[in-house]
């Protein structure tokens, strides 16, 4: 019995719309529905893991080679189980947290519906991402996670901090996702297929692998593209918990794992990733050690821990995939529990920094114990799942020499130091402030996740099998047991000693980390990002000021360079010598008259001062040109020209009616600046000469032997049409029409948005 791989994905993707639909009718029901939908997705993933699954390959747009390929292999199973399991914990937590959160900010309760739907969309996107077997699908879900995270981080849209954090996350992960797409397209060009399996079998394209790796580094918040993650904790706590443990950030290392053969085959890229991973471990660990916010400590720690995973994947070798996958699993469980615990602490005490909490252990013993287990798991203490993640890390590092081992030990010691600091500052010491009891639904998920962390430490077999299956290319079994006499065990003991030393004598490390933080604030990548954003804004504002002055300033920068460039091209290619003005036949006389009237009306328009007069004379230009089209045997164009001219004139007159009469009179009386007149004359002569030269040059070229017009005329009857222009618009060049009307619809939205905004 094999479950189709599409089933869990479809269930997960259906969860968000279902919750939104139920919430639209009955807002209070959204939260329980969200929990139910997440649980169903989780059970579906477990069932698929247990029963095995058949890959799905459905045609999507076959004429473009697009297919819906999903496969639920070992790697996908691990991430899917983690994603949905944490989703269940987070949605349960959110049922209590979100109403409190909205209450604190005095926002209507109904906004909770949006929250639950978005969290589930996040889950669906992540599940789609991990099961996608097609590069384009992978990209699609990759971007969906970025867009969803944008809305979730900016959930408190009244707060400027949340909005700028969301924008930062979207810009950093969204701009790099373009590189991801470029990599995907390169791989398709190289192998002729979007199927990931084909890519993995076809050797590597280093450029494509590098592009994808950059996007993954940004997504997994690795140095130097890490700065968005600590800001993203402006999001409500359940979002942070999910984003840091199983969604979004995990997507980066997931893609590195999925495409690992491509990266392993490019040695320079592997080295670069190893350096990035090692630097991220150090930077994240140091900053976590001196951070003061409850969530800030955890956010920096996430950077460090995905640094481990990046390092593991970059080192490669026998156990790398298994170790990296197991690491993500263990970290996801521990980190989500810690974030949820931090949120519960803040809800109980109202404090969100380590300095303002303390001694909570006696007052919240259950939460203290559960958080302690989760912190121990993150720090890699025995009897928790975390011990094995570190053991696997050391095992891989030992295969790659002393430097890798030293980095791993240092990173693990730092982790032990800051998790100890985190837990002891909150729960030990003298009591600080008051603490109100919180709902079971805020502590329950923490306890459940801590139980998983503990069970994984006592009986690691199922999770070890899950991780072993993740390395589908070379299935291997990995045994996880407690041994006394092993190098890995010895390294763990070293970590404990060094970590304990850091906790007991924190000042030297504090000084180093503090100096580092200062330097980062002054010249770090976040500063660069802000400077770049600022400069772009300033440039755009300056451009807008020039452009907005009046219509002439808007047209001049377009026409002047165009005229000069076209003139240069005509001279340089000698094209002006081939211009043939031709002769005017007697049959052309009506046409000549129509065009002359248009020209005369154009000159008259420029001389009018009263607004209504300008509108009417201007319409004469259009109607004369419409007559010219009619004389040239183009009834379709003439019809459209007449209609457009009518509408435009009506609009002009209508717009004039909206202005107060005094404003119009003042405008009429005002003399234009002296110099401007000659500038305008020069510009219009230049533009006219440009149009004339281009038209003459085009029309005096040799007539092609089989012009496309002939083909259109021949084919129009075959397409069931007798009027060629109509057939061109709806059939031959229908895609152009489609594009244009899409632009029209977008312009409509723009018009409405601009006009509905109240003037201050």
């Amino acid at each position: 019995l094999a479950v189709p791989a599409l089933l869990p994905v479809a269930l997960a993707l259906a969860a968000a719309p279902l919750t939104a639909a139920v919430g639209a009718v009955r807002p209070r029901a959204a939260a329980p529905v969200a929990v139910g939908a997440a649980s169903v997705a989780f059970v579906a993933c477990l069932a698929t893991w247990w029963a095995g699954s058949a890959p799905v390959d459905l045609p999507w747009a076959p004429s473009w080679g697009l297919r819906l390929r999903f496969h639920f292999d070992g790697l996908a199973t691990l991430y899917a189980v983690l994603t949905t399991a944490v989703a269940v914990a987070v949605t349960v937590y959110a049922t209590a947290y979100v109403p409190r959160h909205l209450h604190h900010q005095e926002r209507p309760r109904e906004e909770a519906v949006r929250f639950h739907a978005l969290i589930l969309l996040f889950m669906g996107a992540m599940l789609g991402l991990v099961t996608a077997g097609d590069g384009l699908l992978l990209f699609l879900f990759w971007d969906l996670t970025a867009v969803t995270s944008y809305f979730l981080i900016a959930f408190d849209r009244e707060r400027a901090e949340a909005r700028s954090a969301a924008l930062m996350a979207l810009l950093v992960t969204g701009v790099t996702s373009i590189l991801f797409l470029a990599g995907v397209v390169l791989l398709d060009l190289g192998t002729g297929s979007f199927a990931i399996d084909t890519w993995l079998g076809a050797g590597t394209t280093p450029a494509a692998a590098a592009l994808i790796a950059v996007a993954a580094v940004a997504k997994s918040a690795q140095v130097p593209l890490h700065f968005w993650l600590p800001r993203a904790m402006a999001a409500p706590t359940p979002v942070s918990a999910y984003l840091h443990s199983a969604a979004m950030v995990a997507a980066g290392v997931f893609v590195l794992t999925r495409l690992h053969p491509l990266i392993a085959a490019a040695p320079a890229l592997s080295t670069a990733l190893a350096v990035i991973g090692a630097v991220s471990m150090t930077v994240g660990g140091l900053l976590a050690f001196v951070a003061d916010g409850l969530k800030a400590v955890l956010a920096y720690s996430t950077i460090a821990h995905y640094g481990y995973v990046t390092l593991l994947l970059a080192l490669g070798g026998e156990h790398a995939i298994v170790a990296a996958s197991f690491y993500v699993l263990a970290h996801g469980v521990a980190k989500s529990a810690l974030f949820l615990a931090a949120g519960a602490v803040t809800e109980a005490t109202g404090a969100s920094t380590l300095a303002r909490v303390g001694g909570l252990g006696a007052r919240m013993p259950v939460l203290a114990a559960a958080t302690g287990v989760a912190a121990a798991a993150l720090a890699g203490l025995p009897l928790t799942i975390g011990y094995f993640k570190d053991e696997l890390l050391f095992r891989v590092a030992l295969q790659h020499g002393n430097l890798a081992t030293a980095v791993a030990v240092a990173g693990a010691a730092l982790t032990l130091a800051y998790t100890t600091r985190f837990w002891t500052s909150i729960f030990l010491g003298p009591a600080v402030g008051s603490a109100r009891p919180v709902e079971r639904r805020l502590t329950g998920p923490v306890v459940a996740l801590a139980a998983v962390a503990l069970a994984g430490g006592l009986y690691p077999d199922p999770l070890a099998r899950l991780a072993a299956a993740a390395a589908a290319r070379a299935p291997e079994s990995v045994e996880l047991e407690y041994h006394l006499l092993r190098t890995e065990t010895a390294l763990a003991v070293v970590v404990w000693i060094v970590g304990a030393a850091m906790v007991i004598v924190p000042s030297p490390l504090r000084a180093v980390a503090g100096a580092f933080r200062q330097a980062g604030a002054r010249a770090g990548p976040e500063r660069l990002y802000r400077m770049a954003l600022h400069a772009l804004n300033r440039f755009s504002r300056r451009l807008r000021r020039i452009e907005q002055r009046d219509l002439r300033s808007r047209v001049t920068p377009v026409l002047a360079p165009l005229a000069v460039l076209v003139g240069l091209a005509l001279v340089a290619t000698g094209g002006w010598r081939r211009i043939d003005a031709g002769r005017i036949a007697t049959t052309d006389i009506p046409l000549a008259i129509a065009v002359s009237i248009a020209a005369a009306a154009a000159i008259a328009t420029a001389r009018r001062r009263r607004h209504l007069g300008i509108a009417v004379t201007l319409s004469t230009v259009g109607f004369s040109l419409a007559a010219a089209y009619a004389f040239s045997g183009a009834p379709d164009v003439a019809l459209v020209a007449v209609l457009i001219e009518t509408l435009l004139t009506l609009l002009f007159v209508g717009m004039l009616a909206l202005f107060p009469l005094s404003v119009l009179r003042r405008q009429v009386r005002r003399e234009p600046p002296r110099g401007r007149f000659w500038r305008d004359v020069a510009m219009s002569l230049l533009a006219g000469a440009l149009a004339l030269a281009v038209a003459l040059r085009t029309l005096s070229g040799p007539t092609p032997r089989d012009p496309i017009a002939a083909a259109y005329l021949r084919l129009a009857p075959e397409a069931h049409g007798r009027d060629t222009v109509t057939v061109i618009l709806a059939d031959f060049r229908g895609l152009d029409t489609l594009g244009e009307i899409t632009v029209l619809a977008i312009a409509f939205a723009g018009v409405l948005t601009l006009l509905r905004r109240q003037a201050p």
Binding site: L639, G654, G721, T737
Partner: protein
């Protein structure tokens, strides 16, 4: 307020423009004019009403409030005709019935997906023009 003559002519123009638009729409795929022209004719008829009678009266008498529905429906219809064939493995905008197949006619109206495409364009153009004019009129009343 506009003059009596303007209002009388405007009133006469409304049915005339709507009937003309309908005629252009159903006149068949083979003759001059298309969805864009039909949409522009009908929209011009309605815009004249705005100029002659003012926004409040038009809002009361004509269903102009549904303009955005026209834009969205028109775009969706056109996109469906355009991309529908892709889902069936055909090229973009592959119209049905295909070349040389028989086309059912109801009078001059041909039952052909190109006509449907034109209908989408018509809806979008009329929706766009009327909606934009309506928004302008509202903005004018506010200021």
């Amino acid at each position: 307020m506009t003059g009596l003559l303007t209002r009388m002519v405007a009133r006469l123009l409304l049915p005339a423009s709507l009937v003309t638009a309908l005629a252009i729409l159903v006149k068949g795929y083979g003759d001059t004019g298309d969805g864009f022209a039909a949409g522009a004719v009908a929209a011009a008829g309605i815009v004249v009403q705005y100029v002659a009678f003012g926004g409040a009266t038009v809002e009361r008498l004509l269903p102009v409030r549904a303009a955005h529905v026209g834009v969205v429906t028109g775009l969706l219809v056109a996109l469906a005709v355009g991309f529908g064939p892709v889902a069936a493995g055909l090229p973009l905008l592959a119209h049905r019935p295909p070349p040389e197949a028989h086309v059912v006619r109801l009078g001059t109206l041909e039952l052909h997906t190109a006509t449907l495409f034109d209908l989408g364009v018509f809806l979008l153009v009329i929706g766009f023009t009327v909606g934009a004019v309506r928004a302008l009129a509202h903005a004018g009343e506010r200021s």
